[in-house]
């Protein structure tokens, strides 16, 4: 009787028997979320449950975020009324096929501390917005992990994509394994395996991925209640470079020992970065160049002290190495013709025995690159004559596809790589060395007045990257950031401003954010 004053008798959830279990899958289009939803429905039906699954297929599946939703209840002979989409605060199990999708689920309110088991793969699929920044535009995984720990009743996260890939299958299989292993559904392991087996094609690989993820999730379930954080990239072991093996002719090894001894003489905090830098430098050019690097580094160390944690010297060790190893044609050709490169390509592509690998490189040299590889005098001569340069450019400037597995292609690159020994006399080296000196002098000149500012000036080297037009644009950003020096010098927050400008410069291609930030600086 409705017009009675007492509340109605509670209906939903009165009996455990007819409780509806609600499960949502958030995936990225193309991950096989539909297969997973079908499997889960099948498992439920095999266990005497009625289940309903829905999805929004269509255009949204083309690499966009998409949701699959399953509801199930014990079959009592009557058909329950199931909902067709998940509701905030009303989801028992949430499966995210990618870490940011777990974050999206939390934002959308599908994860609640009272009831939701959150199962997510911890791997990342970068969204387009994350990839197109010239710097590092990737979202913070730590933030999602931390929030998920608090937001979910149980949180199970590990790299299920890797498990799937290792077993030669799709992530849907390892997600199902994690679901089974979590014990969040009252179903046996066998019934899950039967559901996969019923699919037929590729069942063996799927079952292997399922098993691996199952064990992994079981392990987590058995572990401390706080759950397990997903693997973060391990921090590089301090000094791991020191143990690196070096091989080569005796005379060079002796030279290397001398350089290494100079590293040992550096303050401890600087050594790791300096050694990495030194290796890069020697690999790029030769022992003597390594000596130049350490000479330059010594200038920073002399101005530095333990009170500052040797931040200046560490920054110098890092950015000097990058600046001295500029990306010229010689370096590219050298790297592309090494035996180590050949083995890396074979490993990455997964070349098996009995197959043949053919490698095509994509080059597009312009007159600038050509002149850079000429002796400084000749290169400058051409560059200073626009009509001659344009004439030559018409002959040089086009895409060249070079087969480095072929004799002719390889030899051409091998020859260019061999120009290394004359590199110091070439135009590009002259330009780079001058630029480097200006920048380095500028940084060190600021140390006594503003230590932090000097470090930030060094860090601006990060802006210089890319080839051709991209490199030119990077140079311009670098110049624009440093153009603000005169405006901020003397301010207590000068270093902060340079850092902010640099970060702005890494946000977009043309430097629109940077221009905005520069206007702000100008108004200070």
């Amino acid at each position: 009787m409705l017009d009675h004053n007492a509340p109605l008798r509670p209906k939903a959830g009165a009996h455990d028997d007819d409780r509806v279990i609600k499960l949502a899958v958030l995936a990225v289009g193309g991950q096989g979320g539909g297969v997973l939803a079908d499997w889960i429905t099948d498992v439920a039906e095999r266990n005497g449950y009625v289940a309903q699954s829905t999805s929004v297929a269509g255009v949204a599946q083309r690499t966009g975020a998409t949701i699959y939703y399953v509801e199930m209840a014990r079959d009592t002979g009557r058909l329950p009324v199931f909902a067709l989409s998940p509701s905030q605060g009303d989801v028992d199990i949430l499966i995210a096929a990618e870490l940011m999708e777990a974050g999206r689920a939390i934002i959308r309110g599908f994860v609640t501390p009272e009831r939701t088991t959150l199962i997510t793969s911890s791997h990342r699929i970068a969204a387009v917005s994350e990839k197109i920044e010239p710097g590092d535009g990737r979202a913070s995984s730590e933030k999602v992990h931390a929030t998920a720990e608090a937001a979910a009743k149980r949180f199970i996260a590990f790299d299920m994509e890797k498990i799937a890939a290792d077993n030669g299958t799709m992530i849907s299989a390892s997600l199902l394994g994690a679901l089974a292993g979590s014990g969040a559904l009252p179903f046996t392991r066998e019934s899950y395996e039967q559901a996969i087996g019923a699919g037929g094609r590729g069942a063996k690989a799927s079952l292997a991925a399922f098993a691996a993820a199952y064990d992994r999730a079981r392990g987590i379930t058995g572990a401390a209640p706080s759950g397990e954080m997903a693997e973060m990239p391990a921090a590089p072991e301090a000094g791991s470079g020191l143990a690196a093996k070096v091989s080569g002719p005796e005379s060079l090894l002796q030279g290397w020992q001398q350089l290494a001894a100079r590293i040992d003489a550096l303050p401890t905090p600087v050594r790791d970065m300096a050694l990495r830098g030194l290796k890069k430098i020697v690999d790029f050019q030769d022992i003597a160049y390594g000596g130049e690097y350490l000479d330059r580094l010594d200038r920073a160390v002399a101005l530095d002290d333990a009170g500052h944690g040797y931040a200046l010297s560490i920054a110098a060790a890092k950015h000097l190495a990058n600046a001295m190893c500029y990306d010229d044609m010689i370096r590219v050709a050298d790297l592309k013709t090494r035996s180590t490169r050949d083995s890396r390509v074979r490993r990455e592509i997964g070349v098996k025995d009995g197959t043949v690998l053919q490698v095509t490189e994509y080059f597009h040299p312009r007159i600038e690159e050509f002149c850079g590889t000429l002796p400084a005098g000749l290169g400058s001569y051409i560059e200073s004559r626009p009509r001659l340069a344009a004439f030559l450019d018409r002959r040089i400037n086009r895409g060249r596809h070079i087969r480095t597995d072929s004799f002719a292609g390889f030899t051409a690159l091998w020859f260019i790589g061999g120009l290394r020994r004359w590199r110091r006399r070439l135009l590009r080296h002259k330009v780079e060395a001058e630029h480097l000196e200006r920048w380095y002098d500028l940084a060190l000149g600021n140390v006594s007045a503003d230590y932090a500012l000097a470090v930030e000036i060094l860090n601006c080297r990060r802006l210089i990257k890319g080839y051709s037009d991209t490199h030119t644009r990077a140079q311009s950003k670098f110049d624009r950031v440093l153009s603000a020096l005169d405006l901020v010098r003397g301010r207590p927050d000068a270093a902060d401003w340079i850092r902010r400008l640099r970060e702005a410069a890494l946000k977009d291609e043309k430097g629109d954010m940077l221009d905005g930030a520069l206007k702000t600086v100008a108004s200070l």
């Binding site: 083309r62 199931f82 067709l84 002719p249 035996s339 990257k465």
Partner: protein, 717 residues
């Protein structure tokens, strides 16, 4: 050949009386059509009814056995016009398409069909793409039903209910001589469920029978004076017949107590969402049993006055749950109550949002709000005044972290290089006005391309640029149209129009061999043979036939340089009139689906197969990501290096790469960087391959060893 094959599932269409059908909603509707003795079916694909078309295409054998004619219509207008077969003949016919975009296209035919009326049952199944995940404008089919005076069914979203709605729809159509629209929401189309099947029925009269005994009746044709009589007939005969049928057959359902002080009226499609809200308010159980009176409108047009008024009898307040706006149902009910002089308060959009999808939370909030206001005594204490403890975690920070993930081009999509080239041309010649169209290529409006100003309708890209045709202009407009849109109506509305009006703009026809966005259905220009359809009609021939003089055909869109040069030429040539570029390459999703099994089989069978894949030299990549700003390929992503010397992540190509070539071509055309390489793996190499390989490797190895023995080698470098 569609993206998804239903070859296995269509066997379920053969189920007989008493057998249990288990499967997707869309398949259930197909089965229901056969159970109703449908004589012919047509339609145009589009989410969420694409699969219905795919099921029918895959079920041609079964349809043939039953004497049912199936047609993959050229457009929604064609599909609706096809229902003309039910005007004079007692043949049941069905047409299906996406709503409301399809209904828009169909409305001319719909109006004419509705005016003359039908003899055989005519059913239009509209897949509602409304709410989250929708790719179209948010409108209501309801308005079409009202303006054309056809009836609209909106059944409860479970398989038994939608199957029954198909049966009801045909009977209602015949009882009232009016076409009936059956709307099915997107999640309902894809819902997995069960129903008890009946035997399929052969149509009592086939289209072949009709052709043998043609009939005509001027009174059914839309021409004065018959057309004026049709309007009268609609209100005097057909409407009352429909109302009588709906009432008599209890198409609308009443649940819950019959004497509460409040009640809820809803569109049938909203029933499950209403029940879920009541369940969460502790007012309904798992099976939907509730004491709250519910009036479920499985027929939302026409409405049945006395049925509604009797539901309101003795109630203080009634809530109307009507998704979308305008709130036609609520307005109609309010008028009924007012005219009947009833005191029942009618509320709807006061408690529920004016616009937007009625999600679980919206329903819980809306129904909760209604009950708190009108019948608080019904609600348990904790619902009436919920404790605010444990409100969950603060997600404000997270919102700034989690990136948006709109849909985009697939891995290896042949349309990506077209837009990379367009972006490069714009870098050279400046920004242009770009008109977009419906289809996958509309993803060009998203990052990283961000090209395109408007999208006006399927096949209407170039038409929507037709105003931008001025002799004073220094720049031409660029417009895009897909092959699907081209054949749908672009050939006349866009190309013909541009020729006739001497439009000077550039038109790019994106030809990927399928109606790709809707799931890869075949169209006239599809390159593959199709058993039941005529394919392989080149777009270029059609364009020439329309009178286009400046025409270029690019048969490999991955050639970014050529694409760029052709666009540049089109934008700068002295020649007048429309400049048409047909850019053709097969949809990669479909191509992979077709080729991958063949390639795997060939490799297993010992045949020589070359498989391409792209890679990035991570020590050459500087982490600038310029390549990604011209790509957006899911396979090309960023990766951190385990190297403290490097700050920014470098480019990386994952295992899913299909080796389309875009990366290399773009790096080349845009003069980016030399870090990309293409690795062709030759499986089952022949003797010549092996000989070359061993010779080359010997020489290359020699050179490598020579250099490497003279330098320092770092084990981890």
């Amino acid at each position: 050949m569609a993206e998804r094959s239903f070859a296995k599932e269509v066997e379920k269409l053969r189920l007989g009386d008493g057998e249990e059908f288990a499967g997707e909603g869309i398949l259930a509707i197909t089965k229901a059509l056969l159970q109703c003795g449908v004589g012919y079916v047509g339609g145009y694909q589009g989410a969420p009814i694409s699969h219905l078309m795919d099921v029918l295409a895959d079920a041609q054998d079964i349809l043939g056995e039953l004497g049912v004619h199936f047609e993959a219509s050229a457009s929604e207008a064609t599909a609706t016009a096809m229902l003309a077969a039910s005007v004079h003949y007692p043949i049941r016919g069905a047409a299906t398409f996406k709503s409301t975009v399809g209904t828009n296209v169909a409305s001319d035919a719909l109006a004419n069909l509705a005016s003359g009326g039908v003899t055989g049952g005519a059913l239009i199944i509209v897949g509602e793409d409304y709410g989250e995940g929708s790719s179209i404008m948010q409108e209501r089919s309801h308005a079409f039903a009202m303006k054309s005076q056809v009836w609209l069914l909106d059944p409860r979203p479970d398989l038994p209910s939608i199957v029954k709605a198909v049966e009801d729809g045909f009977e209602l159509s015949e009882a009232s001589n009016t076409p009936v629209m059956l709307q099915v929401r997107i999640r309902c189309c894809h819902v997995h469920g069960h129903f008890i099947a009946k035997d399929n029925k052969r149509p009592p009269m086939s289209v072949a029978d009709a052709l043998d005994a043609p009939r005509r009746d001027t009174g059914r044709i839309v021409l004065p004076p018959a057309s004026f009589l049709h309007e009268k007939e609609k209100v005097q005969k057909r409407w009352p017949a429909a109302v009588a049928f709906i009432r008599k057959n209890r198409i609308n359902e009443i649940f819950g107590s019959d004497h509460g002080s409040v009640g809820i009226v809803m569109q049938g499609g909203m029933y499950n969402a209403v029940i879920r809200a009541l369940q969460r308010l502790n007012l309904a159980d798992t099976y939907g049993d509730t004491d709250v009176p519910l009036y479920v409108l499985n027929a939302v047009y026409p409405l049945i006055d006395d049925e509604f008024l009797s539901f309101c009898e003795g109630k203080q307040a009634v809530l109307v749950v009507e998704e979308g706006q305008p709130n036609y149902i609520e307005q109609a009910f309010a008028a009924m109550l007012h005219k009947a002089g009833r005191g029942t308060r009618l509320v709807g959009k006061e408690h529920l949002p004016m616009a937007g999808e009625y999600t679980g939370q919206v329903m819980l909030d809306g129904i909760g709000s209604f009950l708190r206001a009108e019948a608080p005594h019904l609600l348990p204490g904790e619902v009436r005044a919920p404790n605010k403890s444990g409100e969950g975690v603060d997600t404000a920070d997270l919102i700034n972290v989690v990136p948006g993930r709109p849909p985009g081009f697939c891995i290896g999509c042949p349309e990506r290089p077209i837009f990379a080239a367009t972006k490069l041309v714009e870098q050279e010649l400046g920004k242009h006005h770009i008109a977009s169209d419906i289809g996958c290529h509309l993803f060009s409006i998203m990052p990283p391309f961000e090209l395109g100003a408007t999208t006006m309708g399927y096949g209407l890209g170039p038409a929507s640029a037709s105003a931008f045709n001025s002799p004073d202009a220094k720049r031409r407009s660029i417009s895009f149209v897909g092959d699907g849109g081209f054949w749908h109506n672009g050939l006349t509305s866009s190309i013909g129009n541009a020729v006739f009006n001497k439009n000077d703009g550039v038109i790019v026809i994106v030809d990927n061999f399928y109606s790709a966005a809707t799931g890869g259905q075949d169209i006239l220009s599809s390159r593959a043979g199709n058993k039941t359809k005529s394919t392989k009609h080149p777009i270029t021939e059609a364009v020439k036939g329309m009178g286009v003089k400046w025409l270029r055909h690019i048969d490999r869109t991955y050639d970014v340089g050529k694409m760029q040069a052709t666009l540049r030429e089109a934008l700068t040539t002295e020649e007048k009139g429309p400049k048409v570029i047909v850019a053709s390459s097969e949809c990669m999703l479909n191509r992979q689906r077709r080729e991958k099994p063949l390639v795997d089989k060939a490799i297993k069978g010992g045949e020589r197969v070359v498989k391409p894949k792209f890679g990035v030299d991570e020590d050459i990549c500087t982490g600038d990501h310029a390549c990604m700003r011209l790509s957006g390929c899911p396979s090309l992503s960023v990766k951190s290096l385990d190297d403290p010397l490097r700050d920014d992540p470098v480019a990386h190509i994952d295992q899913n790469c299909v080796g389309c070539g875009n990366c290399g071509e773009v790096a080349d055309a845009a003069v980016l960087c030399p870090s990309f390489y293409r690795a062709d793996v030759v499986h089952n190499p022949n003797r010549w391959d092996r000989f070359l390989e061993s010779t080359r490797r010997a020489v290359i190895g020699l050179l490598q060893r020579r250099r490497e023995s003279r330098r320092l080698m770092f084990a981890d470098a």
